[in-house]
């Protein structure tokens, strides 16, 4: 989950685009290997005999907006509905052609706790299609997708819609436990006397509301605080973090301007304007970024509002099918979804190291090396977290001490890394980010002509996810 410190980032004025472009060409690479354009892969394809090929047919998302902006008056399922309708529209999928719908979300709206069902009904899907909701913090929609992959592999389904939604403009704020207890007792009270005595027992303290926890439950530490400690543990400097944040915003801006973010659908918000673009992308300058005070560890911390992801509203959806079904229905798939892993570590000191643990594991599973990957899309929770993960991947000591490996796998080449921006700039609706990452990898593989892509993400609870994606032969 991203920084709960929201909007202080927004005080940075946008910067001279010329400078930004120039900046973007600067390499932030931590590993210096340069890759020849034509390269022999360890494997031609990851298809395995006897295992169904599963394909990504299409992926869409609503524009990701800073929470409290245009989406402010909606409900979570409205956003999910928009994504689903966008998918239907883009694929011309018949509304009864889906076998199962799965959504991921983190902060649940109690009224629509199975948001997958409410959204699919509202989006006009047949009421005969079952749907369920999953949650695994920032990798919730990754779980939605891999659940779908599992259903197809097991032969239970052929066509799955998976997605994710997060709506931070409105979160459940509850009465205090004391108040809830009184109110529930009031419900059961039989006589007027009992009711009056219960009402009389209400004190000022009862009225203090309970906000959704921003801290990790098991450790009581906020994620930003943990990210700052992680950055310090890996010796990531404030400068490195600010540079990475600026890179993310700059690249996102370029991608947006170049029309590369084709997964974004436009959405007519009821009572408001049509939204067609992410609104959190704001390239700034190093000088501006340097001015910000640390947000979590004061006064010597390095994580600021500007180098953290911000609170975002948004939804995403993907259409996943068995290859034969997709072809039978006349679709041209975008990519194969291949090996994936979920990992988990100590939620205190390794909260955000999911990518560092997941990447070597999934590469080993797929039988690939770091060099085989053409496109990297890592979830950017914090610039410091990304830099820490890159340093961990590039450290033999870390690989040996904590991962039981003989040698490191190496860090991804920055020329291949999050080239269309990332969660820091595009935004991070917790439950929806996973589908964005996968769709972006597919689109980048198509655009850049690569063979393999890798998605990796960290999540609260010290968990993580990584998936290998293979380009569909064009």
């Amino acid at each position: 989950m991203a920084s709960m410190l929201m909007n202080s980032l927004r005080c940075c004025p946008p910067v001279n685009p010329a400078w930004a472009v120039q900046y973007a060409t600067r390499s932030l690479s931590t590993s210096v290997q340069l890759h020849a354009q034509v390269q022999t892969k360890s494997k031609k394809t990851l298809a395995k005999p006897g295992v169904k090929n599963i394909v990504l047919v299409e992926g869409v998302r609503t524009p990701f907006l800073l929470s409290g902006t245009t989406y402010a008056d909606l409900m979570p399922h409205d956003l999910a509905r928009a994504a689903l309708q966008g998918l239907l529209h883009k694929t011309s999928l018949p509304k009864d052609a889906v076998d199962y719908i799965i959504y991921g979300t983190v902060i649940q709206e109690v009224k629509t706790s199975n948001v997958a069902r409410e959204a699919s009904l509202g989006a006009g899907f047949s009421d005969k299609i079952p749907s369920h909701t999953v949650t695994m913090a920032c990798i919730s929609s990754n779980v939605a997708m891999t659940t779908g992959v599992g259903l197809i592999t097991a032969g239970q389904c052929d066509t799955i819609v998976a997605g994710g939604v997060e709506f931070m403009s409105d979160v459940p704020i509850r009465h205090s436990r004391k108040m809830r207890k009184t109110m529930l007792a009031l419900n059961r009270a039989k006589t007027l006397g009992q009711r009056l005595s219960l009402i009389g027992s209400i004190r000022m303290a009862h009225l203090t509301p309970e906000l959704p926890a921003v801290a990790e439950f098991s450790t009581a530490e906020t994620m930003g605080h943990s990210a700052d400690r992680l950055a310090a543990a890996f010796g990531v400097t404030r400068l490195e973090q600010d540079e990475f944040a600026l890179r993310s915003h700059t690249l996102a801006k370029q991608a947006q301007d170049a029309g590369l973010l084709s997964d974004v659908i436009s959405f007519k918000v009821p009572g408001r304007d049509t939204v067609a673009k992410d609104n959190g992308i704001r390239p700034s300058s190093m000088e501006q970024l340097a001015k910000l005070k640390p947000a979590f560890i004061k006064p010597h911390g390095t994580v600021t509002a500007a180098n953290s992801s911000f609170l975002t509203d948004g939804a995403s959806a993907v259409l996943i099918m068995s290859e034969e079904k997709a072809l039978a229905m006349g679709y041209k798939p975008k990519a194969y979804l291949r090996d994936f892993v979920f990992v988990s570590q100590d939620p205190k000191d390794q909260l955000l190291l999911g990518p560092a643990y997941g990447t070597p594991k999934v590469l080993a599973r797929a039988g690939l090396t770091m060099d085989d990957i053409d496109v990297f899309e890592f979830h950017e929770a914090f610039a410091g977290q990304i830099m820490a993960n890159l340093k961990a991947l590039d450290s033999d000591w870390f690989a040996q001490t904590y991962m039981g490996r003989k040698v490191k796998v190496g860090a991804p080449a920055m020329e291949k890394f999050n080239l269309w921006g990332g969660s820091l700039s595009l935004g991070h609706p917790f439950g929806a980010t996973g589908c964005r990452l996968v769709t972006t990898v597919a689109h980048r593989l198509l655009k850049e002509g690569g063979q393999y892509g890798l998605v990796a993400a960290c999540a609260a609870g010290g968990q993580g996810h990584a998936m290998v994606i293979e380009a569909y032969p064009q």
Binding site: F234, D349, A388
Partner: protein, 766 residues
């Protein structure tokens, strides 16, 4: 069941709080001679990073840093160089030992002195050194990770700025009072200015450890640094590096005026300062604190009073008088018998935290406890949070759930105090299995039984258990009086049977008395000691016999207490006399806490074993009380009446009748207040000495530790053996002979005591 009671909860030090001391003073076995020069320095060195001198301390001869002579000399050398170095603008003081800043002064330095003047001089040298630090033109930042205690804290507060890690190991404090001393290197003068007069008194009079976050709130440190997890180096190494980086930033910040050393005072602070500026208020504080100290310590401990005196001298008569008073009082205290006793206990405690039986063949990973009563659940509570899988077995659902609730409550209270998180509580409880049968016992490495004190029941249990446990499993029995060999008689493998006598409440009482029989194997003992140490206990290992060591010492004293009650001494008076002697709990209250029924049981058993020597009070008094339902605190009535929720207690009016029935006429020759005290104490001490004479005890150190930590023998006296040394065996024997004339063999001194009385050069402690 156990013969001991709640001895916790004291606000001021003197009681048993000493056991909480971290290695504050640590002694070196080797003494360092020959001052070394320049690069040959072994303890302190420095490196200049940009314009900041990073001064690193590391005592290569010890696990902890202490302010030994060598450390001080090298520190002064380095400090002079840093001052003289024009390239240096500021300095950072840091320990390169992971997990220890400075644990205190070197105790041997003080113990090597023969006169108070010598100690005063030591103190003045320390004061001088820290005054130079305080007045240094180049700001010095103390970067603290790990214990920063005693002299270490005094060093840190002389620096201009303090940064500390939030690690659990980082604690700040002035534990000198627990050794009968005072902070003698400027602590009594600087602390009141830094944390306010009430805060300073609290720190210095309780000697408690303060965690980093609390220290920040109190104004003792300026900035906190979080401990780091895995990165590109080991967490410990990187955390120190990070601390250093932050401290360097601070040092630079002070030099370029980005960090101000004069703290903006908040409204509350201003008000407090104003109030403390009024002399009348200060006088009231001195008065209140003195009264409190007198109440808690009964005037038996000189150190708290000297601390108040030194603080007062500084605040009322200026720094010169203050520092002089501190140094002189430090010198005086170092020569007191109380300090000697407390330091002896400290050394004893350190010794009893070691396993002299070596490393056991296999570590205990699965431990099963039989009986979920107060003791069984208490043992579970101190075991389950040490990474040992713990099975708690009882025979009834009710008994089991009561025990499980006790364990839960113990952990939950820690959660409420925020020493652990609710998650850690849950995680810990996951290692506890409650059950009614013997399932899973085939995996047990050790079984501790805490069932009812009845030989037949114990025999039944041992047979049941031996049928299900694996061959390597140790059977430990928690009993307070039944001889272990009698229990082991039912065992098919007596070499695996051992006694582990815990004291109630288990989570508060530090002592564990381990009892070995002739047949107990060395590995069994090593394993029991290892488990006890893991549980955080101070351990004495004693020989088998009725009442072992602790119960055996307590029984004659309680018999004497009953006789005194029969002679018409009021329970409150009896309590006052015992606490006045230094016992943390009075004899009558102690009987209530232990349980009148238990006391009766033990008195009868030991009476049978030791004959008339253990007589005194009439056992029938206790038995009648039990019949009437006066079983002590647990039944609500004993010598006193206990009302739930009320702290004060009244004498049980109904025991008048009981005592009336067994009334004895006191003999005025041996019934003065002082005689009453010595009648109680001499029987205790004589029995302790006899335990040593008979080989039940391994040595006087364990005897002293067992008596103080298990039974509440006055810490200021250092235990029965040190008491004999200090008081004089001949004087004690003289008193006992006088009592012997009246009461007979109850007061016959044992041979060893007589030997010591005859030859005054014979001492239990060197």
């Amino acid at each position: 069941m156990s013969l001991s009671s709640t001895l916790n909860g004291s606000y001021l030090t003197p009681r048993l709080r000493i056991n909480k001391v971290l290695p504050y003073f640590t002694s070196h076995t080797e003494t360092h001679v020959s001052p070394k020069i320049d690069s040959s320095r072994t303890h302190v060195n420095y490196e200049v990073k940009e314009d900041v001198a990073v001064i690193r301390m590391n005592d290569p001869t010890s696990k902890v840093n202490t302010l030994s002579v060598q450390m001080q000399n090298e520190m002064i050398e380095v400090f002079n160089e840093v001052l003289a170095n024009d390239a240096v603008q500021s300095a950072v003081l840091i320990s390169s030992k992971p997990g220890c800043f400075i644990a205190g002064a070197d105790i041997n330095m003080i113990q090597a002195c023969n006169t108070s003047e010598e100690v005063t001089k030591l103190s003045q040298e320390g004061q001088k050194m820290f005054a130079r630090i305080e007045n240094s033109p180049k700001p010095i930042v103390a970067a603290i990770n790990g214990p920063c205690l005693g002299g270490g804290l005094e060093f840190a507060i002389a620096c201009q700025y303090r940064v500390a890690t939030k690690s659990k190991k980082t604690v700040l404090g002035t534990p000198e009072v627990m050794l009968g001393l005072l902070p003698g290197a400027g602590g009594t003068q600087r602390l009141p200015k830094m944390v306010g007069i009430p805060g300073a008194f609290d720190m210095m009079l309780t000697g408690r450890n303060i965690r980093a976050d609390k220290a920040k709130k109190m104004g003792l440190v300026h900035q906190l640094v979080d401990p780091l997890g895995p990165g590109l180096k080991s967490p410990e190494e990187r955390t120190i590096e990070y601390l250093e980086e932050v401290a360097i930033q601070c040092a630079k910040g002070i030099v370029n005026k980005k960090i101000s050393l004069t703290k903006e005072k908040g409204m509350m602070q201003k008000v407090q300062d104003y109030v403390m500026g009024i002399e009348f208020v200060r006088q009231q504080i001195y008065k209140t604190v003195t009264a409190k100290v007198m109440k808690m310590s009964k005037g038996l401990y000189p150190a708290p009073l000297k601390i108040i005196e030194s603080v007062k001298a500084g605040l009322e008569q200026g720094p010169d008088s203050g520092y002089l008073a501190e140094a002189q009082n430090f010198g005086k205290l170092a020569m007191t018998s109380e300090s000697n006793a407390l330091i002896g206990l400290y050394h004893g405690q350190v010794a009893c935290k070691k396993n002299r039986f070596g490393v056991p063949e296999r570590p205990v990973k699965n431990l099963a406890i039989l009986g979920a009563g107060l003791m069984g659940a208490g043992i579970a509570q101190v075991t389950v949070d040490k990474g040992i899988h713990t099975v708690l077995k009882d025979t009834t659902v009710e008994g089991l759930s009561r025990g499980q609730q006790q364990v839960y409550k113990g952990l939950n209270d820690k959660t409420k105090k925020k020493t652990i998180t609710s998650f850690e509580r849950d995680f810990t409880l996951a290692s506890l299995t409650g059950q009614l049968d013997y399932s899973g016992f085939e995996k047990a490495d050790m079984v501790i039984e805490a069932v009812f004190e009845d030989l037949n029941i114990k025999h039944r249990v041992i047979k049941e258990v031996e049928a299900v446990i694996p061959p390597h499993c140790i059977f430990a029995t928690n009993t307070s009086a039944l001889p272990i060999k009698d229990i082991a008689a039912a065992s098919i493998r007596p070499e695996k049977v051992i006694g582990m006598h815990y004291f109630s409440p288990v989570d508060k009482m530090q002592l564990l008395e381990i009892i070995t029989t002739d047949k107990t194997s060395k590995d069994t003992t090593a394993s029991a000691v290892a488990v006890g140490l893991k549980q955080g206990k101070v351990i004495i290992v004693v020989g088998d016999g009725p009442g072992f060591y602790t119960t055996r010492c307590l029984a004659p004293m309680l018999a004497e207490a009953v006789r005194l009650l029969q002679e018409g001494v009021d329970p409150k008076k009896l309590d006052a006399l015992t606490t006045g002697f230094g016992f943390p709990v009075g004899a009558a209250t102690l009987a209530d806490e232990v349980g009148i029924d238990v006391a009766a049981h033990v008195a009868e058993d030991l009476g049978k074993a030791f004959g008339s020597r253990f007589g005194g009070g009439n056992v029938e008094v206790l038995k009648t009380m039990v019949e009437k339902g006066f079983k002590g605190r647990k039944s609500g009535k004993g010598c006193y009446v206990y009302t739930p929720g009320l702290k004060s207690k009244d004498v049980n009016p109904d025991i008048e009748d009981v005592l009336g029935k067994y009334k004895l006429t006191p003999n005025p020759l041996v019934s003065s207040d002082s005689d009453v005290q010595y009648r109680l104490v001499s029987r205790f001490v004589n029995e302790a000495v006899m335990c040593l004479q008979e080989g039940i005890l391994n040595g006087p150190v364990e005897g002293d530790i067992g008596a103080v930590f298990g039974l509440g023998f006055p810490p200021c006296l250092g235990g029965p053996f040190r008491f004999v040394d200090t008081f004089g065996a001949n004087k004690l024997v003289e008193k006992m002979k006088r009592y012997e004339e009246v009461y007979g063999n109850h007061f016959t001194p044992c041979q060893l005591l007589l030997d010591h009385a005859k030859d005054s050069s014979k001492r239990f402690h060197k």
